[in-house]
């Protein structure tokens, strides 16, 4: 596919097995269990080019690697990752400071369909930490605003303290034809925003009550259960399955289709995904223990 051919096109004699060194320009906390890193190549060369939806394998000296979606601006001069502390590697990464060095292998994987979405309304639905892998979509739309129609960003998290990028979202909302709606599963005292599953925002969004099936592209990212019922709801609201894209996650050790871990039937999530058009995997995506 032309899309895949354009992605990850940097010649690497080691076969993408050896990391490149990146320096931490800035590190900051996002929520109680997530943080962001802004990175630049240690040798001063230009930052890698990537497409929204792709991921890197981030290496910590002597500790190991973790596959992390890229969450920055594809047109930016630095590489930004928002990372959730879920295991030994990511917990150690949380301690990184300005000036530290990490290894980066990537960018790997398939990208969100920004080309297919041209001229369309876009609805992005994300849950939890998965707001990070869809943020590049939002940046891409703003970078070339005239090429896209309305943008609706629907985001749900567990509690108000888990919501990512709230400040930035205020900026996004100020753009024309852009709405950003957020909801939580569980409110805390003082929260006056939406409470309820993220799918309740679909009907709530201005374009939600009648998505134009010929003119809407939906991109969904979050826990598989959340994506499952979000897809169901989008279909109920008239979005054709061939215009719904999801991003899947599996255990990854190499990121380049050689270690075997990320397989889902015939697909290697690291190179045939993580972004998939829903109708292409509909028969297997909900199979238990696949």
């Amino acid at each position: 596919m032309a899309r895949k051919a354009r992605a990850a096109a940097r010649h690497n004699a080691s076969g993408f097995m050896v990391p490149e060194l990146y320096r931490v320009v800035k590190a900051w906390r996002e929520t109680h269990d997530s943080f962001s890193l802004e990175l630049a190549p240690a040798d001063g060369s230009p930052v890698m080019r990537f497409l929204p939806g792709q991921f890197n394998m981030i290496y910590l000296f002597g500790v190991g690697e973790a596959p992390i979606s890229i969450s920055g601006d594809p047109a930016g001069k630095t590489l930004v990752h928002t990372i959730r502390e879920v295991g030994s590697v990511t917990r150690r990464m949380a301690k990184l400071k300005e000036g530290d060095t990490v290894g980066i292998r990537g960018p790997f994987g398939t990208d969100w369909p920004m080309d297919a979405a041209r001229g369309n309304d876009i609805v992005v639905v994300a849950g939890g930490i998965a707001f990070a892998p869809v943020r590049p979509i939002i940046y891409s739309v703003f970078n070339e605003r005239a090429k896209y129609g309305k943008l609706a960003v629907l985001y749900g998290a567990r509690t108000p303290g888990d919501l990512l990028y709230e400040k930035e979202a205020k900026c996004w909302r100020s753009h024309e034809d852009t709405e950003v709606l957020m909801t939580v599963d569980r409110a805390l005292p003082g929260w006056s925003g939406n409470v309820g599953v993220v799918t309740t925002l679909i009907g709530r969004s201005k374009s939600g009550n009648d998505f134009d099936p010929y003119n809407t592209v939906a991109m969904v990212c979050g826990p598989e259960l959340m994506m499952r019922f979000t897809v169901r709801e989008l279909i109920k609201h008239g979005v054709p399955e061939s215009r719904i894209w999801i991003s899947l996650e599996r255990n990854m050790k190499c990121g380049i289709g050689l270690c075997g871990h990320c397989q889902m039937q015939s697909h290697f999530i690291c190179k045939d995904g993580p972004v998939f058009r829903h109708d292409r995997i509909r028969d297997i995506v909900n199979r238990r223990e696949l």
Partner: protein, 155 residues
């Protein structure tokens, strides 16, 4: 609001789909236009439950007051949704507070009158009951997903 305006709203709303003109007219007779400003309570826990609402615009927070913590929002009811079904089941008492979080325009239905309609026209009663069951089922599903902690680390 004139009755024919109310009927037009009902006719256009998916919840009342399938009802014939006579039934729509009878139900419209039970409805009045109502508005709430942000912060106003539409009903409070413990009040006799005599109404249900079609939220036409705005948003309503279903809340419970937890001593020591204050009001906690359980769910947000968005526009074009139906609010309230405790008028259907004894002891006909509200179980939560409902507060407008944005300016709300709603149709307020007299539950006692609608119950009376259903007794007179069992077919209408059955249809309405099935529609409310759908709402309850959706809310139950949403609530179960909410308490599942799908974004948690062990999800």
């Amino acid at each position: 609001m004139e009755k024919n305006e109310i009927e037009a709203i009902l006719k256009g709303h998916p919840f009342f789909e399938g009802l014939d003109a006579g039934q729509l007219s009878a139900i419209a007779d039970c409805a009045t236009d109502s508005q709430y400003e942000t912060g106003q309570f539409i009903f409070k826990e413990g009040q006799p439950s005599e109404h249900f609402f079609l939220i036409r615009s705005g948003g309503v927070a279903l809340e419970i007051f937890v001593p020591g913590k204050g009001p906690i929002i359980l769910q947000t009811i968005h526009e074009n949704s139906i609010l309230g079904w405790s008028w259907l089941v004894p002891p006909y008492k509200k179980q939560y507070d409902a507060q407008a979080v944005k300016p709300v325009k709603a149709l307020k239905f007299d539950g006692k009158k609608v119950r009376g309609l259903c007794e007179k026209d069992p077919k209408l009663g059955c249809t309405l009951l099935m529609k409310f069951s759908e709402i309850m089922s959706e809310r139950l599903w949403a609530t179960r997903i909410q308490i599942m902690d799908i974004y948690g680390k062990e999800s």
